[in-house]
């Protein structure tokens, strides 16, 4: 795709966006004259003491685990379509497949396998039951308020989470007005069109957040087209006594192309419903209860179709049904926080087609109890935790963890964390529980003026990892150890820099290195944001996959630009554009899944 054709595609975007622009402009009102005299100036007179500039990019995180948080502000700056577009920029995360937005992709955390990562949305696990695959690409970015990523085993809190957790927290209803919303539309290369509508507000005690979106693309790689539709709703009711009831529902439907192989295309089709009802009940200032029921109903079909010809050669269909609930009590004492809880899920998976004759179905009851404690002694914060799981088919699992932090100063600390964890990588395969012992040692500081630094050494010793590299299933031991370094700066001339580097050294049980684990991962970010609300962000991504058939020709550079025009207190109009993979670099783990080439899009967002 040349720049010229990209520009032409962008030019063609004008027509479908006229309606959105017109709707936006209809809602604008005369700007209200803004009062720029602060209360400080009012009481002290103008020309008082100057306000200090930012001394540090961010405060040091006080947890023992290696956690990265992506906030709503960062999500908007990335012009993201779905969840993988957001975590693409996070240090230590590797996308195995860089594909058309909305289509299937695999992610790794610090070189973990894709089925070692637990992905939650509104506390409902997204991972499929048959192979623990989390379909991140079906989650629209717009509904996300923040993402919390735990790197390394997190089984003492979450159960099956060998490689880490991606916890997606959705937006809460806007509280200060009865109605507001956003209209957004974008158009890009290969008819990549994304239209989204949000409505949110609070009336009396009832808050609502509603979202509808549709993403279409003719495909940025061969046979990688997509039609993704999402509906999302959240209702939140504040109880007359203290407490909140929250209902959430996400419905997803998708048809997409996954892959083109010689003489055949592989496509998928999916329908999924995720719903939860949660009660948060503070009993007093110290004790609070969280109770939730949840369900995930998913049907996913994969088709192999002859090309040309369009004859279905093979199809497989997986139905996942899970229903369950959780109960959690948190007690905040004088000296410590104790969290205890229980999770229960009844799961059922049925598979039809493929190499299996007829239908194979399996059900299981899963339960887990956990106890997490945090207490502080002087400059030390100590976090012992444990969880016991009855997995139903993967044996009973005890997952302890122990974390400790030492505050070197108000904004610097040392952290250590060790944990045992596991992942249930298949409901249908016997003895498919893979295990890990994670150890991490880290340092984080915001004390160097204008800089924030974070460094982590990690060692993930996994065993019983199911491998079919040699054409037969085998259980192997894999040791992945390495280091991760992150740096951010405060804005200078409205521009800040961020960078993250991850090095992973791998060894098998026999001392040999094994392939397809990213040896070097580099993330670069340069962000410009000025008071007139013009912002630009340049993202660089480099992965050395250390695999035969992989390619790592250059850094993939993405540029995102946006300009916001304020019209009134609550009304603004934003024009944005993205140019992805600017220099058409190649970066993939296998040539079966080449990454997308250069592509561009423009769009508008109207907040009212």
């Amino acid at each position: 795709m040349s720049i010229r054709s990209a520009v032409l595609s962008v030019g063609a975007a004008v027509k479908p966006m006229v309606l959105t622009v017109a709707l936006c402009l209809l809602t604008v009102m005369p700007a209200r004259s803004d009062d720029d005299l602060s209360s400080v100036e009012l009481f002290n007179g103008a020309g008082g003491d100057p306000v200090s500039a930012n001394r540090s990019p961010r405060p040091a995180s006080q947890t023992a685990e290696n956690i990265t948080v992506v906030t709503a502000d960062e999500i908007v700056a990335l012009n993201a379509h779905t969840l993988p577009d957001i975590i693409y920029a996070v240090t230590g995360i590797q996308l195995e497949v860089i594909s058309t937005p909305g289509t299937l992709t695999n992610i790794e955390i610090q070189g973990s396998d894709f089925d070692h990562v637990l992905v939650l949305i509104d506390n409902v696990p997204l991972n499929s039951l048959s192979d623990n695959f989390p379909d991140l690409a079906s989650i629209p970015a717009q509904i996300i308020d923040r993402i919390e990523i735990v790197k390394g085993a997190a089984s003492s809190a979450w159960g099956s989470a060998l490689g880490g957790v991606i916890n997606v927290i959705t937006k809460v209803p806007q509280q200060d007005r009865p109605a507001g919303g956003t209209l957004a539309g974008s158009y890009g290369t290969r008819q990549t069109v994304d239209g989204r509508v949000e409505a949110t507000g609070t009336v009396d005690r009832l808050g609502y957040y509603l979202f509808a979106g549709n993403l279409h693309s003719d495909g940025l790689r061969p046979n990688n087209q997509v039609d993704l539709g999402n509906l999302y709703g959240k209702l939140q009711y504040e109880l007359p006594v203290r407490g909140t009831v929250t209902l959430t529902t996400l419905y997803t439907t998708r048809e997409s192309g996954v892959l083109a192989v010689p003489y055949a295309d592989i496509n998928d089709q999916k329908h999924e419903l995720i719903a939860s009802a949660a009660l948060l009940l503070p009993l007093d200032n110290r004790l609070s209860l969280d109770a939730a029921v949840r369900t995930r109903q998913s049907t996913m079909e994969m088709f192999t179709i002859s090309a040309p010809g369009g004859v279905t050669l093979q199809s497989t269909r997986e139905n996942d049904n899970s229903i369950g609930g959780s109960l959690k009590a948190s007690w905040l004492g004088e000296w410590q926080l104790v969290v205890a809880g229980v999770d229960y899920d009844h799961v059922k998976v049925s598979l039809r087609g493929g190499r299996i004759a007829g239908e194979e179905a399996k059900t299981a009851d899963r339960a887990g109890i956990y106890l997490n404690d945090t207490f502080t002694v002087g400059n030390f914060a100590i976090t012992p935790s444990a969880r016991y799981d009855w997995t139903g088919f993967g044996g009973d699992r005890f997952s302890p963890s122990f974390g400790i932090t030492y505050a070197l100063s108000e904004n610097s600390l040392l952290r250590g964390y060790t944990a045992r964890g596991y992942s249930l990588t298949s409901l249908n395969r016997a003895e498919s529980t893979e295990k890990v012992w994670t150890s991490q040692l880290g340092f984080e500081s915001g004390d160097v003026p204008s800089l924030w630094l974070k460094a982590t050494l990690f060692r993930n010793d996994t065993w019983d990892v199911i491998s079919n590299d040699l054409g037969r299933l085998a259980k192997t031991r894999q040791l992945k150890h390495g280091g991760e370094f992150e740096l951010r700066t405060v804005p200078v001339f409205n521009t800040s820099l961020s960078t993250g580097y991850t090095y992973i050294h791998t060894e098998g049980g026999d001392g040999q290195m094994f392939q397809s684990v990213p040896k070097h991962t580099l993330k670069l970010g340069l962000r410009y944001r000025d008071p007139s609300r013009l912002q630009a962000q340049l993202i660089g991504n480099y992965i050395d996959w250390n695999a035969t058939g992989s390619s790592n020709r250059g850094v993939l550079w993405d540029l995102h630009v946006s300009k916001t025009f304020e019209y009134a207190e609550y009304t603004s109009f934003e024009v944005f554009g993205s140019l992805r993979n600017i220099f058409a670099g190649q970066q993939y783990v296998t040539d079966m899944y080449t990454n997308t080439g250069r592509w561009a899009e423009v769009g508008v967002r109207c907040h009212f």
């Binding site: 004259s33 602060s38 400080v40 002290n44 200032n285 444990a386």
Partner: protein, 282 residues
């Protein structure tokens, strides 16, 4: 064996420990002498542990993460932006002080920067004024003025009100009070009082020979007659009491309490020039 390990862990976690975790996260909008004074007052009377974070020290501040990781029992917001940021999270109760312009997302308890209007009316009565001009922005000070009107109805003072919706309207509105008032009452309202309009109050005062009763000492040197000033240190102490009540589990009234202490300062030169009743001895 696993259950045994679990029991050991339960025992371990419930052992009382000597710890220094903090109870109150004090979130301050920025570095400012007035805010610092209020914080000193708070720390004087609040005996629990406090961590103070000044928002302007950080380019990227994530309160949700801090509350989740450090579990403060209460957030004390100092300043408008601090209150706005504090109310974006739901996990921890919030009390506030020194927040004049904030529009709380949810009702919250705190100590306001607005003295009880009765105090001003009392000063105006002692000065011997009957017709008092007040400029205000209904969006900012509407509720305060309503309370002042109700109180004025019980005294011999009559408030002559002028609404302003933008700072530039202020001089004309002051001019419209010519011959109709015996005094001007300057409210801490950033629409009615701004760098461009402050002079108009004192030019009117000189021309009409009426005193200006104001809320900050800085306006005395410009020609104000009397200032009824908030005591920031005491506001901090007042909030410390309120915070302790919240931590003790007592239900608090929503909205800002008026500061309980005020300091009166006069510009004796102006008082003499305008031949006003003296406020000496207050």
């Amino acid at each position: 064996m696993s259950l045994l390990r679990l029991l050991v862990l339960v025992f371990f976690t419930l052992i009382p420990t000597l710890a220094l975790a903090y109870d109150v996260l004090l979130l301050q909008s920025m570095h400012d002498k007035g805010y610092d004074e209020a914080v000193r007052g708070f720390k004087r009377d609040y005996r629990g542990s406090v961590r103070r974070i000044v928002l302007t020290d950080y380019a990227d501040f994530d309160l949700t993460r801090i509350t989740r990781e450090e579990h403060p029992k209460l957030i004390v917001a100092v300043g408008d932006r601090a209150l706005e940021v504090a109310q974006k999270q739901h996990a921890t109760p919030v009390v506030y002080m020194m927040a004049l312009n904030a529009k709380p997302r949810r009702p919250a308890s705190g100590v306001s920067m607005l003295l009880d209007p009765a105090r001003y009316l009392s000063v105006l009565e002692e000065l011997g004024c009957e017709r008092v001009g007040v400029l205000y922005d209904p969006a900012r000070s509407g509720a305060y003025v309503k309370r002042a009107l109700a109180l004025a109805g019980r005294s011999r003072i009559r408030l002559v009100l002028r609404e302003v919706h933008a700072p530039k309207e202020t001089p004309a509105m002051i001019a419209s009070l010519k011959g109709k008032v015996d005094a001007l009452w300057m409210l801490p309202d950033t629409t009615a009082v701004s760098p461009g309009s402050t002079e108009a109050y004192f030019l009117f005062s000189q021309a009409e020979r009426v005193p200006v009763v104001t809320f900050a000492e800085v306006y005395l040197s410009m020609g104000g007659a009397v200032a009824l000033i908030i005591d920031r240190y005491d506001i901090g102490r007042q909030l410390a009491e309120l915070a302790q009540n919240v931590l003790d589990g007592n239900q608090q009234d929503e909205g800002g309490e008026p500061p309980r202490r005020a300091v009166t300062r006069t510009n004796e030169g102006v008082v003499r020039q305008l031949r006003l009743n003296s406020l000496a001895g207050r």
